[in-house]
Symmetry: D2
Subunit: 316 residues, 4 copies
């Protein structure tokens, strides 16, 4: 695969201080850097400088999504593929805190992507030196304290078209999908490596454009998710749904809304990986979906409608 992994997500917030407080004190990320409008955050074992760029903005949602290439040559191959496609290429940008030149492009639904090779690996200081040298930094045990960035979920009006975008531009493969009775795709789970997914796309029902459904970090154990639920509860964070287990991907999940309204998940996948090189996508029908989540939980209504930024006048 030319693309190695999801690198970072830029999240927009119109309540910057509150959102930053949530992500650091409650969710348990740490700040690597700051600039005039953004904070660069990472989980304790994320190897790069940052995996979440939090940017003050007039609204919420996703700024851009960064994927790291597997090599300089692989990056070139991907750029060529994108340029040869009918998708919108924005071209090279100089990079950012934490990584070098990045090639930017856009899906047909208004989400901005970038791919890059050169990165700044996180260098811990004395204060966050890990006890075990194979960890990127100290397990600081603050807040929910997930280990690493896991995935994000975007909304698109046409998931089939979004799938073509992901396959063409990133070379992603599809591991699971929802096949609606009307013939459309209801959702699609993509990966560029052995994780079950690094990006999911589900159908936009709120009339929005370029919207974010959620961003997720991975915790080591399901118990970490249960403990996180108590931490969110004690800190007045809106718990939307969970902890419970998704039928799709078997993910043990917990969804909350950070103070500005962006949905954030903390999840655990157990030992599940997609090792099979010719894995056939798992197809979930509407009939399957009527069973609810793995253990029968009915999906909460806001999960189908709430995205960021909100769509004026719709409640979505």
């Amino acid at each position: 695969m030319d693309i190695a992994h999801l690198g970072h997500v830029e999240m927009l917030t119109d309540r910057f201080d509150a959102t930053l407080d949530f992500f650091t004190r409650v969710y348990g990320l740490t700040v690597s850097g700051r600039d005039a409008t953004s904070a660069y955050l990472r989980a304790w074992d994320d190897y790069e400088f940052h995996t979440l760029k939090l940017t003050a903005a007039e609204t919420t949602g996703v700024g851009h999504i960064g994927y790291r290439a597997a090599s300089a040559e692989a990056l070139d191959r991907r750029v060529a593929a994108i340029e040869a496609s009918d998708f919108v290429a924005h071209g090279w940008v100089d990079g950012d805190q934490g990584h070098g030149p990045a090639f930017r492009f856009e899906d047909p639904f208004g989400h901005l992507f970038e791919i890059y090779w050169e990165t700044e690996k996180y260098r811990h200081g004395e204060a966050d030196r890990p006890a075990l040298k194979n960890n990127a930094s100290r397990f600081h045990a603050t807040g929910a304290c997930p280990r690493r960035l896991d995935h994000l979920n975007l909304l698109a009006q046409d998931v089939t078209e979004f799938r073509r975008f992901m396959e063409t531009c990133l070379g992603s493969r599809v591991t699971e999908l929802i096949q609606l009775d009307n013939g459309r795709l209801g959702g699609c789970w993509f990966t560029v490596n052995n994780k079950g997914y690094d990006l999911a796309c589900t159908e936009e029902h709120g009339g929005g454009r370029g919207r974010l459904h959620h961003v997720t970090y991975a915790a080591d154990q399901r118990e970490d998710i249960l403990r996180a639920a108590d931490i969110f509860l004690e800190n007045g964070v809106h718990i939307e749904t969970g902890p419970h287990k998704h039928a799709i991907q078997n993910t043990f999940f917990l969804y909350v809304w950070e103070p500005a309204g962006n949905r954030v998940e903390i999840a655990n996948a157990g030992a599940r990986l997609i090792l099979d090189p010719d894995w056939e996508p798992v197809v979930w029908t509407e009939a399957d979906r009527k069973k609810g989540q793995a253990w029968g939980l009915k999906t909460i209504e806001t999960f189908h409608t709430h995205g960021t930024p909100p769509v004026p006048g719709t409640g979505a």
Copy 2:
């Protein structure tokens, strides 16, 4: 990477019935097939026909190690690389229950490897149909019940040479290693994908040849390892060491000896993956190792000496 993942391990036993009883009733694998001298076993979410081939023999240890290629073309590339090397190539065999033609070759220390592309994916029946269609078969909850094959550990007189073998023949990368004060490698952890390791090699101290240190399956949660400890205890299985956490790879481990003496591990890696495409191997010195395992447990003496088959007259 040309090689997708570790596919299966053939384990030899001179107590076939007892070993099979251990692996099915206590450890929690299931039987996919039998022939005159072997049973083919898998964990409930292993996608292939088998991941453990248990073979009746006059002694214990490892029969052969199978890796699945990422494609037919990738298999050809690997075969060419092996044939171009100075390592011993045995050539093609017809395959076995569960997979197609395999190319066999051997490391300088007597371990037999094979690589293959064509495989038989496990097809569950009515009795082991999973409730969730993205699982390979039903979570049967029998015994320790790990999810999938994880890795194996071999012993070699010269780990540096073994490393050259793995890099040359499988294209494996090294994620962590032990650098001894005498300049030799004490151990090396290899992977062909995003797992931290699928094969480890540590120095042979017992004078044996072609020996196995252990085979490991992955459980979803650390709690599964603790629960497995009680299951082993109640079934009279020899617990050698653990549960505890390895400093190397952060693996939460538990080692037992199956009735014939082969060491078997059940382990959990949490959410740890090697996503970085230019990961630098983590180097552990003898000084590092003196600290014991992650939480200070001193490594038990047999862990340094016991391998299979035993070396006559040495107690190893």
Copy 3:
């Protein structure tokens, strides 16, 4: 306290074989004894002969509830207190498999209770000898495999009157309660020892009489509850709600319906105990209850209506 602990619950089933299969193969109890119409079951660390008496009947629900006294003298004191009260005393019965003479009495809502002192402690055989001699029998690891009986929940038209019954007859203390806006008690949690509760009573909304809401066994860890959810899922058991955490008593819960329709819970209370000898009952208002369970789960409708036996023509 004169009463030491909840001893056993007799559950009625009109699908005896299916219910027994559920409790042994899936839920993980074992059979200590049988007679013409009943099976006597226990969890692996229950110290008495049985904690669940399963009885073939024309309907479902609870047969009787047994509490063990703290001594022979304490039993006499309780019998005197019951006889001196205005509650219905049935008098002495000879006992049953597993215990000696019992004094029977009845709450005003049709639930039959008994108290006894002489008991038959479970004596394991060779096959279920525990590895650790302080366990009552072997941790068999079959099914959900809870450790011990925990509590039951009854339905009553008048919880305040039921509370008077429990305080008068058993000397129970109230640890938590629901105070409805209309002045009635919505629910009451009782204990005779350091557990948070051994019996709960909630308001009957279905028009039934003498009904059971659920019976619960305790598992050692929350992970056991999550694992049980997968076991129930794979075995086609109806999962009603959970896993989630109750606000009341902090219990981590999972509710299922056994094949005949009786609601059964498996739960974990963590390290929570009521050690305070002058504990003041925690009062939950309707406003409190509107927040849902601890992490926000809305209580499923059937939880308010379903009890056993069903009330003809009501769907309850």
Copy 4:
């Protein structure tokens, strides 16, 4: 029982600031009060003002041990029993921050006890108001963050005599004991309620007097213990042994030394309780003990010798 539960332990330290930092920042207790020489600490769900009194002193060890009576009358009964005995009674003291008048007495090995009835229940403020009103204060998620005080372990030259002291003065019952081949008791586990033990006494091997072996708080889940191990590791705390499972009492344990050298445990007992009112003490022989801990861990040498205060010139 006249005595309700272990109330508090006074621990001495000759490194007050470092010990206090350990208990608050790393172990996860909070400070309720201070005076000239002591800090009063509690776990987040301890219902009393404090459960650990940390006192600056010239050495380490235990200052005194407080048990709360079940009522004012029960306290009087116990005082009468102690005064009628041949054990040393010091008489009434005025009380302390957190509780009222206490009657003090001493075991033959130099440990000071007190019993009291009047207590100050902890009153949370706005900052530590719990989300769930049945918790004593907010789950703050700082450090290892156990739920409540569990037990302590003292050393005595004659465990049989210590047993007589506990039975006579506190009315404790013995749940488990170690019977040495030489006829002496090697250890004895005592309880006044349904917990498996609130105080253990093991034989003094170091020649000390009035020494402490360890103090323990209870965490809700075994996963909390594993997580605590990482927290101790990252904070440079000396981990002596664990996590592992004791054969005796089935406790899942982890032992560390706080900066001044007092041994501190964090433990989980699962759902295990002693509900049986006529429980027979479990007897462990030397042969039993040779098997090591539950899963085979050999007991580390310092566990047999290290106590506080240290014994000059012995290394104990």
